[in-house]
């Protein structure tokens, strides 16, 4: 086989795979705009991804039936707190582990690495009782606070900061910067890619979080999107067009964020030694 034919074969195979991966997403987008009756009726064929009779009716329906905007704001508010708090806390922790020669550093680093393999589900119930004991059920705090400190983020920051040239920090110290000023004015600006990576990863995890908010929220006041979606799913009458519209509006901010930060995301993942 010639090189050209081989290349064409590969391109064809990859195109088929790409369509395979994209199909559910296209189905979601098309279904969100279709009249409710057509969504499942056309689900089995190629027509599933063609938005025949497109309108915004399903979206209007969602807003009429549930307080979607409330769920959205709740999700954004919680994710913003976890991302902002996470960048501050985990960045400083990673820096301390990479640079400060404090006693027990290796032990702490070992503990952080060990925490990477503990699934959240394993600690969900004890954490629930702890939070309930603190009287935090059904609040924003209970949804954000346990996720601010994150072992994976600490580890990403730690591996990135290990490679920051020491002389930069020493130059800053000689130039009159204290430890915090050195971190904020010299180390952080040089670490924007890893901050962006951690921000995106944290946001994604938080945005899709379901089990914990389901356990700790009661009403609609602090309910985030995934729990709202689950509730909407069971809300009679079951309208698939509306559900698809809800799903699309839930996924859209994540897609937008990824496209916006794609460059940083890849660079940060490479610089910190992980593959994106």
């Amino acid at each position: 086989m010639t090189g050209r034919a081989q290349k064409a074969l590969w391109t064809g195979a990859l195109a088929v795979a790409a369509v395979g991966y994209l199909a559910p997403l296209l189905f979601l987008v098309a279904g969100a705009f279709k009249p409710d009756a057509r969504v499942l009726a056309e689900a089995a064929g190629w027509r599933a991804v063609v938005p025949v009779g497109a309108s915004l009716h399903n979206f209007a329906d969602v807003f009429a039936r549930v307080p979607f905007e409330r769920y959205l704001m709740n999700s954004l508010w919680i994710a913003a707190w976890v991302v902002a708090g996470g960048l501050a806390v985990n960045g400083l922790a990673g820096y301390a582990l990479a640079r400060l020669p404090f006693p027990g550093r290796r032990l702490v680093l070992g503990a952080v690495l060990a925490l990477l393999v503990v699934p959240f589900e394993a600690i969900a119930v004890p954490l629930f009782y702890q939070m309930a004991w603190l009287g935090l059920r059904d609040t924003y705090t209970v949804q954000a606070l346990p996720f601010v400190a994150n072992a994976f983020s600490v580890y990403l920051f730690y591996s990135f900061f290990l490679n920051v040239p020491r002389e930069l920090e020493e130059a800053a110290r000689v130039d009159g910067a204290g430890p915090l000023a050195t971190y904020l004015r010299v180390v952080v600006p040089g670490a924007r890619p890893v901050f962006a990576t951690v921000a995106v990863l944290t946001f994604l995890t938080q945005w899709g979080s379901f089990l914990w908010p389901l356990m700790v929220t009661v009403g609609e006041r602090v309910r985030p999107l995934p729990v709202g979606l689950a509730a909407f799913h069971t809300l009679p009458p079951r309208m698939w067009g509306d559900i698809f519209a809800f799903c699309l509006m839930t996924a859209a901010p994540v897609l937008a964020l990824f496209l916006l930060f794609q460059r940083w995301f890849v660079k940060g993942a490479v610089d910190s030694g992980i593959k994106g």
Binding site: P165, E170, R173, D175
Partner: protein, 365 residues
Amino acid sequence: MADVRLTDLSCTYPDGTAAVRGVSLAVADGELMVIVGPSGCGKSTLLRMVAGLEPASAGTVAIGGRDVTDLSPQARNVAMVFQSYALYPHLTVAGNLAFPLRMRGLPRAEIARRVAEAAHLLSLTPLLERRPAALSGGERQRVAMGRALVRDPDVFLLDEPLSNLDAALRVEIRAEIAALQRRTGTTCLYVTHDQVEAMTLGSRVAVMEHGRLHQVDAPRALYEAPADTFVARFIGSPGMNLVPARLEPGPEGPCLRLGAAAVPLPAPVRARQPKAEGAAGEVSAGLRPEALALEGPGPRLTGTVRAVERLGHEVLAHVALAEPGGCPPVAARLPADAELEEGDGVALVVDVAAVRLFGRDGTAL
């Protein structure tokens, strides 16, 4: 401006390695002191201890009469130029120059004035808006110098600032640094492994090896009267030849037996090295390459030419001596027209008045 005084300064790492061992050194106000030595001799560690980047295990550092041994780097008012320049990559040249001033909380107008002044002094004005990544090696070096200058520190610390530049640029910037230091009159400690750099820059040069100071002196004194065999070999290119010899008592004072010949020790040598007067026995005769010639009066050392380096204005001949045997080949600096080939037998005439004598422990008599 201030003087720098190091007293019995030592640095031992947690694994027990002693990087600096009991160094005492006084640098006068406005002096440019060069610290030179081979890689790993502790010179950079010593500089970092003055900056406050490395803690002292023992001894004291005083700047301007103030004991700063336990002070943090930012409290010492020193400026440092690093080997890698350590420019802040996210800041422009102007931002880099302004950084130390911002850290000191100076008013904006004052910062702008000082940055403009430093940029003008170092011809950096057209580059102020560029980032370090867009600068050449020489330009980066000048920005690093500017960042040190702009704060008007008590002491400049320079850690091998020219080692990343090519040879031509190194000579040019070396002269710029010397001129700048003279103009500002700021006390300066300059670390290098390059003895040519050390000799051309320093008003005094401190030679270090294995964490110890061997000698602190003016460049000419280091060259002509090295305190020990290490300094003798390290300073000069090529270094001083060390030839085994004997001091023997003679009717009119000590005689030097060098190879087959024995000659009375000339008066200038006896005046420079009074300890040679009563000494007898094995010594090392230190001979600079220019103290060896192909003709003239004086004792001769015979040997075979091992290598000839023709440098244009002179010829360096490396000669394995027949007697005394066992010593490494000696280097002789000969006129450019000297006709020598590898393998030739040769008799080198020694200028005995230029000899430097070292005892068996390696220190000068």
